[in-house]
Protein backbone atom coordinates (compact mmCIF):
# COMPACT_ATOMS: atom_id res chain seq x y z
CA UNK A 1 0.00 0.00 0.00
CA UNK A 2 1.17 3.54 -0.78
CA UNK A 3 2.76 5.04 2.36
CA UNK A 4 1.76 8.57 1.34
CA UNK A 5 -1.96 7.73 1.26
CA UNK A 6 -4.03 10.26 3.21
CA UNK A 7 -6.70 9.14 5.69
CA UNK A 8 -9.41 10.16 3.20
CA UNK A 9 -7.78 8.10 0.47
CA UNK A 10 -7.44 5.16 2.86
CA UNK A 11 -11.15 5.40 3.71
CA UNK A 12 -12.14 5.46 0.04
CA UNK A 13 -9.78 2.57 -0.73
CA UNK A 14 -11.14 0.35 2.07
CA UNK A 15 -14.73 1.29 1.24
CA UNK A 16 -14.23 0.42 -2.44
CA UNK A 17 -12.57 -2.90 -1.60
CA UNK A 18 -15.26 -3.93 0.87
CA UNK A 19 -18.13 -2.97 -1.40
CA UNK A 20 -16.55 -4.94 -4.22
CA UNK A 21 -16.78 -8.20 -2.24
CA UNK A 22 -19.27 -10.68 -3.75
CA UNK A 23 -22.20 -11.90 -1.57
CA UNK A 24 -21.32 -14.99 0.50
CA UNK A 25 -23.20 -18.19 -0.08
CA UNK A 26 -25.50 -19.25 2.78
CA UNK A 27 -24.58 -22.57 4.47
CA UNK A 28 -26.43 -25.73 3.52
CA UNK A 29 -29.87 -26.08 5.08
CA UNK A 30 -29.99 -22.43 6.09
CA UNK A 31 -33.19 -21.73 4.19
CA UNK A 32 -35.01 -24.69 5.77
CA UNK A 33 -33.92 -23.69 9.24
CA UNK A 34 -34.88 -20.10 8.60
CA UNK A 35 -38.35 -21.09 7.40
CA UNK A 36 -38.86 -23.32 10.46
CA UNK A 37 -37.76 -20.51 12.77
CA UNK A 38 -40.04 -18.01 11.01
CA UNK A 39 -42.91 -20.50 11.20
CA UNK A 40 -42.38 -20.96 14.90
CA UNK A 41 -42.21 -17.20 15.45
CA UNK A 42 -45.40 -16.67 13.45
CA UNK A 43 -47.15 -19.18 15.67
CA UNK A 44 -46.17 -17.11 18.68
CA UNK A 45 -48.82 -14.98 20.34
CA UNK A 46 -51.54 -17.22 18.94
CA UNK A 47 -51.89 -19.42 22.01
CA UNK A 48 -53.46 -18.60 25.35
CA UNK A 49 -51.88 -19.04 28.77
CA UNK A 50 -54.16 -22.02 29.36
CA UNK A 51 -52.89 -23.75 26.25
CA UNK A 52 -49.36 -23.06 27.35
CA UNK A 53 -50.11 -24.60 30.73
CA UNK A 54 -51.60 -27.69 29.10
CA UNK A 55 -48.70 -28.02 26.71
CA UNK A 56 -46.04 -27.69 29.40
CA UNK A 57 -47.98 -30.01 31.70
CA UNK A 58 -48.21 -32.65 28.98
CA UNK A 59 -44.54 -32.36 28.10
CA UNK A 60 -43.39 -32.56 31.72
CA UNK A 61 -45.71 -35.38 32.73
CA UNK A 62 -44.60 -37.47 29.78
CA UNK A 63 -41.04 -37.47 31.06
CA UNK A 64 -39.84 -40.80 32.40
CA UNK A 65 -38.19 -41.03 35.81
CA UNK A 66 -34.54 -40.00 35.88
CA UNK A 67 -32.28 -42.95 36.59
CA UNK A 68 -30.66 -42.72 40.00
CA UNK A 69 -26.84 -42.85 39.95
CA UNK A 70 -25.39 -46.32 40.38
CA UNK A 71 -23.45 -45.05 43.41
CA UNK A 72 -26.57 -44.10 45.36
CA UNK A 73 -27.35 -47.55 46.72
CA UNK A 74 -23.83 -48.20 48.00
CA UNK A 75 -23.66 -44.70 49.48
CA UNK A 76 -26.91 -45.17 51.39
CA UNK A 77 -25.93 -48.61 52.69
CA UNK A 78 -22.50 -47.32 53.76
CA UNK A 79 -24.10 -44.35 55.54
CA UNK A 80 -26.56 -46.64 57.35
CA UNK A 81 -23.73 -48.96 58.35
CA UNK A 82 -21.69 -46.03 59.60
CA UNK A 83 -24.64 -44.67 61.55
CA UNK A 84 -25.06 -48.03 63.27
CA UNK A 85 -21.48 -47.90 64.55
CA UNK A 86 -21.83 -44.39 66.04
CA UNK A 87 -22.27 -44.53 69.83
CA UNK A 88 -25.53 -43.19 71.21
CA UNK A 89 -24.01 -40.19 73.00
CA UNK A 90 -22.69 -38.89 69.69
CA UNK A 91 -26.20 -38.89 68.27
CA UNK A 92 -29.13 -36.56 68.87
CA UNK A 93 -31.62 -37.00 71.73
CA UNK A 94 -34.03 -39.09 69.68
CA UNK A 95 -31.42 -41.84 69.31
CA UNK A 96 -30.61 -42.09 73.04
CA UNK A 97 -31.64 -45.32 74.83
CA UNK A 98 -34.86 -45.05 76.82
CA UNK A 99 -33.12 -45.63 80.20
CA UNK A 100 -30.60 -42.86 79.49
CA UNK A 101 -33.38 -40.51 78.44
CA UNK A 102 -35.22 -41.25 81.70
CA UNK A 103 -32.07 -40.79 83.79
CA UNK A 104 -31.26 -37.53 82.01
CA UNK A 105 -34.75 -36.22 82.61
CA UNK A 106 -34.51 -37.20 86.32
CA UNK A 107 -31.16 -35.47 86.82
CA UNK A 108 -32.25 -32.38 84.87
CA UNK A 109 -35.43 -32.16 86.95
CA UNK A 110 -33.44 -32.57 90.20
CA UNK A 111 -30.92 -29.86 89.29
CA UNK A 112 -33.68 -27.48 88.20
CA UNK A 113 -35.63 -28.17 91.39
CA UNK A 114 -32.54 -27.57 93.55
CA UNK A 115 -31.81 -24.29 91.77
CA UNK A 116 -35.38 -23.09 92.22
CA UNK A 117 -35.38 -24.16 95.89
CA UNK A 118 -32.08 -22.33 96.52
CA UNK A 119 -33.40 -19.20 94.86
CA UNK A 120 -36.56 -19.41 96.96
CA UNK A 121 -34.58 -19.85 100.20
CA UNK A 122 -32.33 -16.87 99.38
CA UNK A 123 -35.31 -14.65 98.60
CA UNK A 124 -36.92 -15.73 101.88
CA UNK A 125 -33.91 -14.47 103.83
CA UNK A 126 -31.93 -17.66 104.30
CA UNK A 127 -28.20 -17.31 105.04
CA UNK A 128 -26.78 -17.06 101.51
CA UNK A 129 -23.16 -17.45 102.64
CA UNK A 130 -24.03 -20.75 104.34
CA UNK A 131 -25.79 -21.89 101.18
CA UNK A 132 -22.82 -20.82 99.04
CA UNK A 133 -20.40 -22.60 101.34
CA UNK A 134 -22.50 -25.74 101.28
CA UNK A 135 -22.76 -25.59 97.49
CA UNK A 136 -19.04 -24.84 97.22
CA UNK A 137 -18.19 -27.96 99.20
CA UNK A 138 -20.37 -30.08 96.95
CA UNK A 139 -19.08 -28.51 93.73
CA UNK A 140 -15.42 -27.98 94.55
CA UNK A 141 -14.39 -29.07 91.03
CA UNK A 142 -16.62 -26.47 89.41
CA UNK A 143 -15.19 -23.79 91.72
CA UNK A 144 -11.64 -24.73 90.72
CA UNK A 145 -12.57 -24.56 87.04
CA UNK A 146 -14.16 -21.17 87.58
CA UNK A 147 -10.95 -20.02 89.30
CA UNK A 148 -8.83 -21.11 86.29
CA UNK A 149 -11.14 -19.35 83.84
CA UNK A 150 -10.95 -16.17 85.92
CA UNK A 151 -7.16 -16.34 85.99
CA UNK A 152 -7.04 -16.74 82.16
CA UNK A 153 -9.38 -13.78 81.71
CA UNK A 154 -7.29 -11.59 84.04
CA UNK A 155 -4.04 -12.58 82.33
CA UNK A 156 -5.50 -11.89 78.85
CA UNK A 157 -6.86 -8.46 79.83
CA UNK A 158 -3.50 -7.52 81.45
CA UNK A 159 -1.66 -8.58 78.29
CA UNK A 160 -3.99 -6.57 76.06
CA UNK A 161 -3.65 -3.53 78.36
CA UNK A 162 0.14 -3.64 78.00
CA UNK A 163 -0.05 -3.40 74.17
CA UNK A 164 0.14 0.20 72.87
CA UNK A 165 -3.30 1.32 71.60
CA UNK A 166 -1.87 2.24 68.20
CA UNK A 167 -0.67 -1.33 67.64
CA UNK A 168 -3.99 -2.68 68.81
CA UNK A 169 -6.08 -0.49 66.50
CA UNK A 170 -3.65 -1.07 63.63
CA UNK A 171 -3.92 -4.83 64.10
CA UNK A 172 -7.69 -4.68 64.23
CA UNK A 173 -7.79 -2.55 61.07
CA UNK A 174 -5.44 -5.00 59.33
CA UNK A 175 -7.62 -7.96 60.24
CA UNK A 176 -10.75 -6.10 59.11
CA UNK A 177 -9.09 -5.18 55.80
CA UNK A 178 -8.05 -8.80 55.24
CA UNK A 179 -11.55 -10.00 56.03
CA UNK A 180 -13.11 -7.49 53.63
CA UNK A 181 -10.61 -8.40 50.92
CA UNK A 182 -11.27 -12.12 51.15
CA UNK A 183 -15.01 -11.52 51.32
CA UNK A 184 -14.83 -9.38 48.18
CA UNK A 185 -12.61 -11.92 46.42
CA UNK A 186 -15.03 -14.69 47.36
CA UNK A 187 -17.98 -12.73 45.99
CA UNK A 188 -16.12 -11.91 42.77
CA UNK A 189 -15.01 -15.52 42.32
CA UNK A 190 -18.54 -16.77 42.90
CA UNK A 191 -20.04 -14.32 40.43
CA UNK A 192 -17.49 -15.01 37.71
CA UNK A 193 -16.88 -18.73 38.12
CA UNK A 194 -19.96 -20.32 39.66
CA UNK A 195 -22.77 -18.27 38.18
CA UNK A 196 -21.30 -18.41 34.67
CA UNK A 197 -21.44 -22.18 34.85
Amino acid sequence: MNEKMTPEDLEKFIHRELRALPPRKAPAGFETRLQAAVGARLALRTQSAEQLEQLVHRELRSLPLRKAPSTLESRVLAAIEHQATVVWYHKSWTYWPGAVKAAFLGVATGVSGAAIAAFYLVTQGADSSALTAAAGERFAGVAALFHVIRWIATYTSDTIASIPPLWLYGGLAFVAALYATFFGLGAAAYRTLYRNN
Binding site: A40, E59, L60, L63, L65, L72, A79, G186
Partner: protein
Protein backbone atom coordinates in the same frame (compact mmCIF):
# COMPACT_ATOMS: atom_id res chain seq x y z
CA UNK B 1 -44.76 -41.55 35.78
CA UNK B 2 -45.79 -40.89 39.36
CA UNK B 3 -47.02 -44.38 40.20
CA UNK B 4 -45.36 -46.41 42.89
CA UNK B 5 -42.94 -48.96 41.52
CA UNK B 6 -43.78 -52.62 41.85
CA UNK B 7 -42.90 -54.42 45.05
CA UNK B 8 -42.13 -58.04 45.57
CA UNK B 9 -43.68 -60.01 48.41
CA UNK B 10 -47.10 -60.13 50.01
CA UNK B 11 -47.68 -59.96 53.75
CA UNK B 12 -50.42 -61.70 55.72
CA UNK B 13 -52.41 -58.45 55.73
CA UNK B 14 -52.40 -58.50 51.94
CA UNK B 15 -50.14 -55.46 51.64
CA UNK B 16 -47.26 -55.93 49.26
CA UNK B 17 -43.87 -55.34 50.79
CA UNK B 18 -40.24 -55.68 49.74
CA UNK B 19 -38.26 -58.38 51.56
CA UNK B 20 -35.44 -56.10 52.62
CA UNK B 21 -34.35 -52.49 52.64
CA UNK B 22 -32.10 -52.85 49.59
CA UNK B 23 -35.00 -54.06 47.46
CA UNK B 24 -37.18 -51.31 48.88
CA UNK B 25 -34.53 -48.77 47.92
CA UNK B 26 -34.14 -50.20 44.41
CA UNK B 27 -37.89 -49.90 43.91
CA UNK B 28 -38.02 -46.24 44.78
CA UNK B 29 -34.59 -44.78 44.11
CA UNK B 30 -35.38 -43.46 40.61
CA UNK B 31 -38.53 -41.75 41.85
CA UNK B 32 -36.76 -40.15 44.82
CA UNK B 33 -33.80 -39.08 42.72
CA UNK B 34 -36.04 -37.65 39.97
CA UNK B 35 -37.99 -35.60 42.51
CA UNK B 36 -34.80 -34.16 43.99
CA UNK B 37 -32.93 -33.52 40.75
CA UNK B 38 -35.86 -31.77 39.09
CA UNK B 39 -36.31 -29.48 42.07
CA UNK B 40 -32.66 -28.78 42.76
CA UNK B 41 -31.35 -28.86 39.19
CA UNK B 42 -28.02 -30.33 40.29
CA UNK B 43 -27.23 -34.02 40.04
CA UNK B 44 -24.63 -34.19 42.81
CA UNK B 45 -26.77 -32.34 45.31
CA UNK B 46 -29.79 -34.41 44.30
CA UNK B 47 -27.87 -37.60 45.07
CA UNK B 48 -27.04 -36.23 48.51
CA UNK B 49 -30.70 -35.47 49.12
CA UNK B 50 -31.74 -38.93 47.88
CA UNK B 51 -29.24 -40.47 50.29
CA UNK B 52 -30.69 -38.45 53.16
CA UNK B 53 -34.22 -39.53 52.20
CA UNK B 54 -33.29 -43.21 52.28
CA UNK B 55 -31.48 -42.86 55.61
CA UNK B 56 -34.70 -41.44 57.04
CA UNK B 57 -36.64 -44.22 55.34
CA UNK B 58 -34.37 -46.79 57.00
CA UNK B 59 -35.23 -45.33 60.40
CA UNK B 60 -38.93 -45.85 59.65
CA UNK B 61 -38.56 -49.00 57.60
CA UNK B 62 -40.62 -51.15 59.95
CA UNK B 63 -43.65 -49.01 59.15
CA UNK B 64 -42.79 -48.20 55.55
CA UNK B 65 -42.17 -51.72 54.29
CA UNK B 66 -45.83 -52.66 54.72
CA UNK B 67 -47.28 -49.25 54.02
CA UNK B 68 -49.09 -48.76 50.70
CA UNK B 69 -48.27 -45.05 50.91
CA UNK B 70 -44.50 -45.56 51.19
CA UNK B 71 -43.99 -43.96 47.76
CA UNK B 72 -45.95 -40.88 48.79
CA UNK B 73 -44.01 -40.66 52.05
CA UNK B 74 -40.69 -40.83 50.19
CA UNK B 75 -41.83 -38.24 47.65
CA UNK B 76 -42.95 -35.84 50.38
CA UNK B 77 -39.67 -36.23 52.30
CA UNK B 78 -37.65 -35.79 49.09
CA UNK B 79 -39.62 -32.65 48.22
CA UNK B 80 -39.29 -31.15 51.70
CA UNK B 81 -35.59 -31.90 51.99
CA UNK B 82 -34.96 -30.47 48.52
CA UNK B 83 -36.82 -27.26 49.30
CA UNK B 84 -35.03 -26.94 52.66
CA UNK B 85 -31.73 -27.45 50.88
CA UNK B 86 -32.54 -24.78 48.28
CA UNK B 87 -33.64 -22.29 50.92
CA UNK B 88 -30.57 -22.92 53.07
CA UNK B 89 -28.33 -22.57 50.03
CA UNK B 90 -30.11 -19.41 48.91
CA UNK B 91 -29.64 -17.77 52.31
CA UNK B 92 -25.97 -18.71 52.37
CA UNK B 93 -25.23 -17.30 48.94
CA UNK B 94 -27.74 -14.48 48.70
CA UNK B 95 -24.99 -11.93 49.23
CA UNK B 96 -22.89 -13.37 46.45
CA UNK B 97 -25.46 -13.62 43.75
CA UNK B 98 -28.11 -11.31 42.40
CA UNK B 99 -31.02 -13.64 43.08
CA UNK B 100 -33.59 -10.84 43.01
CA UNK B 101 -34.83 -10.38 39.49
CA UNK B 102 -36.49 -7.02 39.39
CA UNK B 103 -38.33 -7.73 36.16
CA UNK B 104 -40.12 -10.62 37.87
CA UNK B 105 -41.98 -8.26 40.14
CA UNK B 106 -43.71 -6.54 37.25
CA UNK B 107 -47.06 -7.23 35.68
CA UNK B 108 -48.15 -9.92 33.28
CA UNK B 109 -46.11 -10.30 30.14
CA UNK B 110 -47.38 -11.33 26.79
CA UNK B 111 -47.35 -15.09 26.40
CA UNK B 112 -45.08 -16.13 23.57
CA UNK B 113 -44.65 -19.72 22.52
CA UNK B 114 -44.96 -21.88 19.51
CA UNK B 115 -48.00 -23.85 18.52
CA UNK B 116 -47.82 -27.46 19.81
CA UNK B 117 -47.66 -28.80 16.25
CA UNK B 118 -44.39 -27.04 15.58
CA UNK B 119 -42.77 -28.52 18.67
CA UNK B 120 -40.07 -31.08 18.07
CA UNK B 121 -40.82 -31.63 14.41
CA UNK B 122 -38.47 -34.37 13.31
CA UNK B 123 -36.99 -34.89 16.78
CA UNK B 124 -37.13 -38.43 18.18
CA UNK B 125 -38.73 -39.04 21.57
CA UNK B 126 -35.57 -39.77 23.55
CA UNK B 127 -33.91 -36.64 22.21
CA UNK B 128 -37.09 -34.71 22.95
CA UNK B 129 -37.14 -35.93 26.56
CA UNK B 130 -33.54 -34.99 26.97
CA UNK B 131 -34.32 -31.52 25.66
CA UNK B 132 -37.20 -31.08 28.09
CA UNK B 133 -35.07 -32.27 31.02
CA UNK B 134 -32.22 -29.96 30.08
CA UNK B 135 -34.60 -27.08 29.46
CA UNK B 136 -36.01 -27.62 32.93
CA UNK B 137 -32.52 -27.60 34.42
CA UNK B 138 -31.75 -24.37 32.61
CA UNK B 139 -34.64 -22.51 34.23
CA UNK B 140 -33.69 -20.20 37.09
CA UNK B 141 -34.40 -21.71 40.48
CA UNK B 142 -37.22 -19.30 41.37
CA UNK B 143 -39.10 -20.48 38.27
CA UNK B 144 -38.10 -24.15 38.24
CA UNK B 145 -39.10 -24.96 41.83
CA UNK B 146 -42.72 -23.75 41.66
CA UNK B 147 -43.07 -25.14 38.13
CA UNK B 148 -41.95 -28.61 39.25
CA UNK B 149 -44.16 -28.50 42.34
CA UNK B 150 -47.14 -27.50 40.20
CA UNK B 151 -46.73 -29.86 37.27
CA UNK B 152 -45.03 -32.88 38.84
CA UNK B 153 -46.32 -32.82 42.41
CA UNK B 154 -49.79 -31.46 41.55
CA UNK B 155 -49.45 -28.89 44.30
CA UNK B 156 -51.90 -25.95 44.20
CA UNK B 157 -50.57 -22.38 43.98
CA UNK B 158 -51.43 -21.65 47.62
CA UNK B 159 -49.46 -24.63 48.92
CA UNK B 160 -46.48 -23.75 46.73
CA UNK B 161 -46.55 -20.21 48.12
CA UNK B 162 -46.55 -21.56 51.67
CA UNK B 163 -43.84 -24.11 51.01
CA UNK B 164 -41.52 -21.74 49.21
CA UNK B 165 -42.39 -18.83 51.52
CA UNK B 166 -43.17 -16.36 48.74
CA UNK B 167 -46.34 -14.49 47.90
CA UNK B 168 -49.12 -16.13 45.92
CA UNK B 169 -48.86 -13.59 43.11
CA UNK B 170 -45.12 -14.20 42.78
CA UNK B 171 -45.69 -17.95 42.59
CA UNK B 172 -48.20 -17.46 39.77
CA UNK B 173 -45.89 -15.07 37.93
CA UNK B 174 -42.87 -17.34 38.37
CA UNK B 175 -44.78 -20.37 37.08
CA UNK B 176 -46.06 -18.44 34.06
CA UNK B 177 -42.59 -17.09 33.30
CA UNK B 178 -41.15 -20.55 33.79
CA UNK B 179 -43.60 -22.00 31.27
CA UNK B 180 -42.80 -19.26 28.79
CA UNK B 181 -39.08 -19.75 29.24
CA UNK B 182 -39.46 -23.52 28.91
CA UNK B 183 -41.59 -23.12 25.78
CA UNK B 184 -39.03 -20.76 24.25
CA UNK B 185 -36.21 -23.22 24.84
CA UNK B 186 -38.33 -26.00 23.38
CA UNK B 187 -39.28 -23.88 20.36
CA UNK B 188 -35.62 -23.29 19.65
CA UNK B 189 -34.88 -26.98 19.91
CA UNK B 190 -37.86 -28.00 17.82
CA UNK B 191 -37.30 -25.41 15.11
CA UNK B 192 -33.60 -25.82 14.66
CA UNK B 193 -33.45 -29.62 14.79
CA UNK B 194 -30.07 -29.28 16.39
CA UNK B 195 -28.62 -31.84 18.76
CA UNK B 196 -28.51 -30.90 22.40
CA UNK B 197 -25.02 -29.79 23.29
CA UNK B 198 -23.89 -31.46 26.51
Amino acid sequence: MNEDPTVHTTTTEGVTAPPDFTTFMRNYQDMVYSTAVRLIGNETQAEDIAQEVFIKAHEHFDNLRTSPSAGGWLKTVATNLSINHIQRYKKRWSFFSDLVHKDDEGGEKEVEFAAPDTFFAGVDSSERREWVERALEKLPEHQRVPLVLYHFEDMPYEDIAKKTRVSLSKVKTDILRGREALAKILVRSGASHEKFAN
